[in-house]
Amino acid sequence: SAADKVKLGALRFTSHSGGFVAFENGYFKDAGLDVEFVYFQAATPMAVAIASGDIDFGVTSITGGLINLAGKGAIKVIGGALHEEKGIDGSAILASTKAFADGLTSPDKLKGRSLGITQTGSSFHYMAAQVAKKEGFATSDIKMKPLQKVGAIIGALKSGQVDSMIIVPHIAKPLSKAGKAKIIGWINDYAPYQVTTIFTSTKNASGKKDLVKRFVGAYSKGIADFNRVMLNQKADMAATDAMVKQIHKYVYASRPYAKAAPSIKNGAMRISKNASLDLTDVKKQLDWFQSEGLVSKSITIDQLVDSSFVETY
């Protein structure tokens, strides 16, 4: 029988490599899925496009917007992707050189400092709240500056308009190396944290369980390949280069390979094995969003997550 047509929403980021690798290695085809990538420039339109039925699957962080859409019965989280754990590079906390010189040398000094985030209710906002909680001060003690775009936050940090930010390693490391900012801590110290999740429309999750299962299975194979090679790059340089080449077709495609490769390599973060989902942390996140009044109190974890597809913990 003909393969099922499936549209997968993606951002051209290294963190979406699970899908790219699975596609390149033919795992989707093997599962009887004819996957077509649909690229987005931002996460919100991707979530809406799933709600409107324009695409079938997407991968992005848990945000207030995602939870609210789930609350309206439009989408369901079905698996995990990026997961912060101790010992593996994850997002870093950066201080501007000015603030660093001024004494902001570790995350516990963030009290009273400004922090650039994209939006209220974004994953950056949540991470900052976790840091504040662990370091023993209120979230409101950090002055959140919503700047919409990562690029804008970086600009603000470099020019000292904000004191700090939280950002993925392949951006954090070069900035720090170039002396434009200082890494003062790692988010994985506040782990575990389920950063991104795989989600689909409620219709798919309840009506096409078989298709969703096959999709998750194939995606997991891609994740396994990615983790094996990219989290251990020194072990097999040839395999690493081969995979970076695969990924380069999708990420930084407009740049020459030589320029793109380091960014891709630096950007490799652990993707959850078998797309398993840290349900405990997802619950924690939901509670936080509700306690901040960012999403409706009536949304339950069952509305947000369909745990029948992957292993949860």
């Binding site: 709600a51 945000t63 207030g64 309206k72 209220t120 919503p146 700047l147 919409q148 804008a152 600009g155």
Partner: protein, 267 residues
Amino acid sequence: MDKTPGTSRPVRFRGGGFAPRPLGLVGALVFITIIILWELGSRTGVISALVLPAPSEAYVAFEELVRSGLLWKHLSASLQRLIIGWSSGALLGVLVGVAIALFSFARAGLVPLVSAIFPVPKIALLPLFIIWFGIGEGAKVATILFGTFFPTVIATYSGIDNLDRSLVRMGQSFGLSWFSIVRKIILPGALPAILSGFRISAAVAIILLVAAEMIGAEFGVGAYILMAGSLMATDQLIAGVAMLSCMGLTVAWLISRAEKYLLRWRR
């Protein structure tokens, strides 16, 4: 007059028309109809509740805003940015527009520059704006100023280009100073075009509130909309958008008043 009236008929009236009369209530009626239809559509499920909430829900969100006292904070922050940004952008725009219309050098040098910079999306330049103007009020006002400046420039110089030069020659023949000619002949003559440019630039300024308040704004209608958008809180989103619409209506009404007074010489 000695003809029998049977064979005669009045000369057909051919004049008139081409000049709409005000029908005050129709506008309000249109809004009410749209809102009622929308509400009905939402209630019956014809309009998916997913992204477009019923007007009543948006109204609830608005009430919440009033109750929490945040409305005024948002509004005053935005209005301040709007007024400063728009009025300085419009003023600069008229000045530059006049310069372009009157000086060969200004025209040759500035028109291509305007054509090249106007189409650059403000959002793409947000990082640069932050570097240049910081994340305080400066950047926000500058965004609005930038956005209103260009349409005003174009409306102004096109309006002046379109003036019949014979009135200028009259002014020169009476020995009016250059400044008098500009102020008393050129600017009033271009005023209809400038006011229509203001209509456009004021709407653009309101649109740009959202872009401006992307830059680290805690309060402001734009910031409220952005937050609602990222949270997919569509009821708040619509409430925020409705506030922008009301601002637009207010500005349009003010400009209509100004036109009615300033352009009363038009037949």
